[in-house]
C-alpha cells in the first residue's frame, strides 16, 4: 500500500471541538472547569458567611450588610454548590471521564454522546441553581437539605418562592445528568476493559469510580423522586410532606396530613450514599498515589476492593443517623447507630492499609503524595467525629451544632478536596496538553492549605461541644452562653480567610502551568497504570496495577502492559 501523504487535520471549529465533543478527555476537562467555577462561587459565599459571623456589622461592597435571611440563602447555596457541583462532580465526573477509559485501556467511554449530554445537562443545572442568587426574591433559605414545611410553604421567606423552585429544577436536572453519567461508567467498566484487564487487575481508582457510579445510580433516583414530590407539594396542592394545621405568619396553611419525616427519610436515603459518592473516588486515588509514591504495592489490594464495596453497601443502611432527634423509634435508632459503627470498619481497614502501604516504602514527597498523606490525616480527624456522632445519646446534644459542621467540613470540605488537589497535580499532564504544575508552589499550597484546614475546622469541634448551634446567622448580641464563643469564631474566620487566600496560589499555578508549565514526559511519575502508557495499537494487560518495588533493568516498576 502506497503511503498516504499526512495532511494536517482541518482545525475543528469551536462548536465541534467543545460543544459537541464526545472525547472523554474534553468532557472530563469541561466537568473540571465547571467544578472550579462552582468551588469559587462556594468559597466566596463561605467567606461572606464567615465575615458576617465574626463581624456582623460589616457592610460588604455591593452586598451591604448581610441580613439573617441573606445569610441563610448564602448557606443554602454554599452547601448545594459544594456538595453537588464540586464534591459529586469533580472526583467522579471530571477525573473519572479524564482518566478511566485510559486506565482500563478502553480509549473511550461506552456511550460518548450520552457522556457529552451528561456534561451539558450538568452545566445547565449549574446555571439554573446559581441563577437563584440573582433573582429579586433571592435564593432558597432552607438549607441544602430543604426540609419541609419550610421548603414547601412559599410564604416562609423571600427566597422560598422562586428560589426553591430554581433549586428543585436545577437539582432535578443534575440528578438526571448524574444518572446518565453513572450508566456510562458502569457500562464502560464492565464491557470496555482491554484484553487481560481482569477486575482484580484494575487500579483502585477504577474500582472506586465503578462502585461510586452504582451508588450514584441508586441514590440520585431517590432524590429525583423526592424532588418531584416536593415540587408537587409546592405547586399542585398535594400534601406529601406538610402536616395539617401548619401556621405561617398567622395564616393556617391548607395542607392535610403529610409527613415532614417522609422527606427526611427520602432525602437522607439519598444523602448518606451521597457523602460516600463524594469520598470513595478520593479513597481510591489515595490508595493509588500512596502506592505510586511509596514505590510499594498497595497493602491488601483485595481488602481495599472489598472494603470499597462494603462502604458502598452499608452506606445505604445508615441514613437514619441524620435523624436521631427526629423522633424515630428507639429500636430504629439503635439499628442505625449500630450500622453506622459497622460502616466505620471498612473505612478503618482502608486507613490501616494506607499506613501499611507507606510503611517501609521509599517515599517520594511530591505534591500529589503530600496531598494524599494529607487526605489520610484529614480523613482520620474528620472521620473520628463520625462514630462520636453515631452515638444517639451524644448526638442528642451535638445534633445541629458546630460539631457536625466540623465533622463534615473536615471530611468532605478538606479530605475530599485534598484528593481533588492530589488528582489535579498528578493528572495535570492529562488535564493540560502534557504539562506539569510547579512542584515548589504545589508544596507551598499544600502546607498552607493543610495548616489552614486544621486551623479553621478543628476549633469548630469545641464550638459545637460548647453548644453553638449551626445555621445561625449571628450569635453576637444573642444568648449569654454564646458570647464567650465569639473570640473562637473570630479565630475561625481569620483562619478561613488565610485558607481561602492560599487557594490563589493553586489557581495561579494551575492557570500558569496550563500554558507555561514544564512539559512532562510520557510517564513523569514512573507509574504502572495504562494512562501513562505510550499510545500503542494493541493493548494487552499482563500485570496487576501496583507492581512496584522489585528492581530490574534499572527500574523499580513494571507497567501493566509489560509481559
Amino acid at each position: 500500500m502506497t503511503p498516504q501523504p499526512v495532511s494536517a487535520a482541518a482545525p475543528a471549529g469551536v462548536l465541534r471541538r467543545y460543544l459537541f465533543s464526545t472525547d472523554h478527555r474534553t468532557v472530563g476537562r469541561q466537568y473540571f472547569f465547571l467544578s472550579l467555577i462552582a468551588v469559587l462561587v462556594g468559597m466566596v459565599l463561605s467567606l461572606i458567611m464567615r465575615v458576617h459571623m465574626a463581624w456582623p456589622e460589616v457592610r460588604l461592597p455591593f452586598l451591604g450588610q448581610t441580613l439573617p435571611e441573606d445569610y441563610l440563602a448564602y448557606m443554602t447555596m454554599h452547601g448545594t454548590l459544594m456538595v453537588f457541583f464540586v464534591l459529586t462532580t469533580a472526583p467522579q465526573s471530571a477525573f473519572g471521564n479524564l482518566v478511566l477509559p485510559e486506565q482500563i485501556g478502553a480509549g473511550r467511554m461506552a456511550f460518548p454522546r450520552m457522556n457529552a449530554l451528561s456534561f451539558w445537562l450538568t452545566a445547565v443545572a449549574f446555571v439554573v441553581v446559581v441563577s437563584a442568587l440573582f433573582v429579586p426574591s433571592g435564593a432558597s433559605q432552607s438549607g441544602w437539605t430543604q426540609y419541609p414545611p419550610l421548603s414547601v410553604v412559599r410564604s416562609t421567606g423571600a427566597g422560598q418562592g422562586l428560589g426553591v423552585d430554581l433549586w428543585i429544577v436545577g437539582i432535578g436536572i443534575f440528578c438526571f445528568a448524574s444518572l446518565l453519567g453513572a450508566i456510562n461508567f458502569i457500562a464502560t467498566v464492565l464491557r470496555m476493559r482491554a484484553l487481560g484487564m481482569s477486575l482484580m487487575r484494575m487500579p483502585l481508582t477504577v474500582w472506586s469510580w465503578f462502585v461510586t457510579a452504582q451508588l450514584t445510580l441508586l441514590a440520585f433516583s431517590v432524590l429525583l423522586a423526592a424532588a418531584l414530590l416536593l415540587f408537587f407539594d409546592r405547586h399542585m396542592g398535594t400534601s406529601f410532606f406538610v402536616p395539617a394545621g401548619v401556621v405561617v405568619n398567622g395564616v393556617v396553611q391548607k395542607y392535610a396530613g403529610g409527613s415532614p419525616l417522609l422527606w427526611q427519610h427520602l432525602f437522607w436515603f439519598f444523602g448518606h450514599p451521597e457523602v460516600y459518592i463524594a469520598i470513595l473516588p478520593g479513597m481510591g486515588l489515595t490508595s493509588h498515589l500512596l502506592s505510586t509514591f511509596a514505590r510499594k504495592p498497595v497493602f491488601g489490594y483485595s481488602a481495599m476492593v472489598f472494603s470499597t464495596m462494603a462502604i458502598g453497601f452499608f452506606g445505604f443502611l445508615v441514613w437514619g443517623h441524620h435523624m436521631f432527634i427526629a423522633g424515630l423509634s428507639p429500636y430504629a435508632t439503635l439499628a442505625f447507630a449500630t450500622l453506622t459503627m459497622v460502616v466505620a470498619i471498612p473505612s478503618g481497614v482502608k486507613t490501616v492499609n494506607w499506613l501499611a502501604t507507606l510503611w517501609r516504602g521509599r517515599i517520594r514527597l511530591t505534591t500529589p503524595m503530600l496531598f494524599s498523606i494529607g487526605f489520610v490525616s484529614l480523613f482520620v480527624t474528620g472521620g473520628l467525629s463520625g462514630p462520636i456522632l453515631a452515638q444517639p445519646t451524644i448526638d442528642a446534644y451535638l445534633h445541629d451544632t458546630y460539631f457536625v459542621v466540623a465533622h463534615f467540613h473536615m471530611i468532605m470540605g478538606m479530605a475530599a478536596v485534598f484528593a481533588i488537589f492530589a488528582a489535579t497535580y498528578f493528572w495535570f499532564p492529562k488535564l493540560s496538553a502534557g504539562r506539569l504544575m510547579s512542584e515548589r508552589w504545589g508544596r507551598v499550597h499544600f502546607w498552607l492549605t493543610f495548616i489552614g484546614a486544621y486551623a479553621t475546622f478543628l476549633p469548630m469541634h469545641f464550638l459545637g461541644m460548647a453548644g453553638h448551634p449551626r445555621r445561625y446567622a449571628q450569635i453576637a448580641g444573642s444568648a449569654e452562653y454564646l458570647q464567650g464563643l465569639l473570640p473562637l469564631q473570630t479565630w475561625v474566620t481569620c483562619a478561613a480567610i488565610g485558607l481561602i487566600a492560599a487557594q490563589f496560589i493553586f489557581l495561579a499555578n494551575l492557570f500558569w502551568s496550563l500554558r507555561r508549565g514544564c512539559v512532562a514526559e510520557t510517564n513523569p511519575w514512573n507509574a504502572t497504570t495504562l494512562e501513562w502508557q505510550p499510545p500503542s495499537e494493541a493493548l494487552v494487560v499482563y500485570r496487576g496495577a501496583y507492581e512496584y518495588g522489585v528492581v530490574r533493568d534499572g527500574r523499580d516498576y513494571r507497567m501493566q502492559s509489560e509481559e
Partner: protein, 252 residues
C-alpha cells in the same frame, strides 16, 4: 513504540501477582466480556456482540435507576398509607387515607400495554431472524425492514393508545371527584401515572427512532441494537406499570 502483539494462548511467565491475582495460565479475557458467552453462539461478529452487550448493560443500569425511582415513590405511598389522619386546626379530621377506586379504563389500558409488549418483542425478533439477516447480508433486499416495521408500527399505536387511555383515566378521576390533590391516595395515582407516562413517552421516542433507522436502512447492526434496546425498554415500562398498578390495587 508499536509492537505486534499476538493474542496469547500459551502459558506466560507469571507476573508477581502483586496487586491482583496470582500467576495465571493465560491473561483472563478482560473487557471482552469473556468472548462468546458459551451458552449461545454469537450472533454475527464479535464486534457487534460487544456493542449489543454494551448497550444492554447500559439499559440494565438504567433499569435499576428507574426501578429505584418508582420504588422510592412506592415507599412514600406505603408510609403515607400507614399514617393515620391528622386533626386540623378546626378540630376536624384531615388527610385520612381513602382507598383508591381505580378508573375502569385503567384495566383496558393495561391490556393495551401488555399486547404492545408482545408486538414490540415480535419486532425485536425480526431484527435477529437469521434467514432474513442472511438475505440482507447477501444483498437480497431488506427483509428485516419488511418484517419488523409493521410490528413497530403496531407497538407505537398501542403505546399511543395507552397514553390516550391514561389521559381519559385522569379525566374520569376529575369528573368523579378524585382529583382533589389533598386526598393522599389519588394524589399518588396522578404522580405514579404521570411519571410512568413520562418514561413511556421516552420509550415511544426510542421506538420511533428505531423504526426510523429501520425504514431509512441504516446499517444493520445499528438497527439491531436500537430495536433491541427500545423493545427491552418497552418491556421494562410494562413491568413498571404492572408493579405500580399492583401496588395501587392490592395495597389500596
Amino acid at each position: 513504540m508499536v509492537r505486534e502483539v499476538a493474542i496469547p494462548n500459551e502459558v506466560r511467565e507469571p507476573g508477581t501477582g502483586v496487586g491482583g491475582r496470582g500467576p495465571n495460565v493465560r491473561p483472563p479475557a478482560g473487557g471482552d466480556g469473556g468472548g462468546d458467552e458459551g451458552r449461545r453462539q454469537p450472533e454475527g461478529n464479535p464486534r457487534f456482540r460487544r456493542r449489543l452487550l454494551r448497550a444492554r448493560i447500559g439499559l440494565a443500569a438504567a433499569a435499576v435507576g428507574i426501578s429505584i425511582f418508582f420504588l422510592a415513590m412506592s415507599s412514600a405511598y406505603l408510609v403515607r398509607q400507614g399514617t393515620g389522619p391528622s386533626i386540623g386546626r378546626d378540630g376536624r379530621e384531615v388527610g385520612a387515607w381513602i382507598p383508591l377506586v381505580l378508573p375502569q379504563i385503567v384495566w383496558f389500558n393495561t391490556l393495551l400495554l401488555v399486547i404492545s409488549s408482545a408486538t414490540a418483542e415480535m419486532a425485536r425478533r425480526q431484527l435477529f431472524h437469521q434467514p432474513a439477516l442472511t438475505e440482507e447480508w447477501l444483498g437480497l433486499g431488506k427483509p428485516t425492514q419488511r418484517r419488523a416495521l409493521p410490528w413497530m408500527g403496531i407497538t407505537l399505536l398501542l403505546g399511543i393508545g395507552f397514553l390516550v387511555g391514561q389521559y381519559l383515566a385522569w379525566q374520569e378521576m376529575n369528573i368523579t371527584g378524585w382529583a382533589d390533590m389533598k386526598n393522599p391516595s389519588s394524589s399518588f395515582f396522578f404522580i405514579f401515572t404521570g411519571a410512568h407516562a413520562a418514561h413511556l413517552i421516552g420509550g415511544l421516542v426510542a421506538l420511533a427512532w428505531a423504526g426510523l433507522a429501520t425504514a431509512l436502512s441504516r446499517p444493520l447492526e445499528t438497527r439491531q441494537v436500537l430495536t433491541d434496546i427500545s423493545a427491552l425498554y418497552w418491556h421494562l415500562m410494562g413491568a413498571v406499570w404492572l408493579g405500580i398498578l399492583g401496588l395501587m390495587y392490592f395495597a389500596r
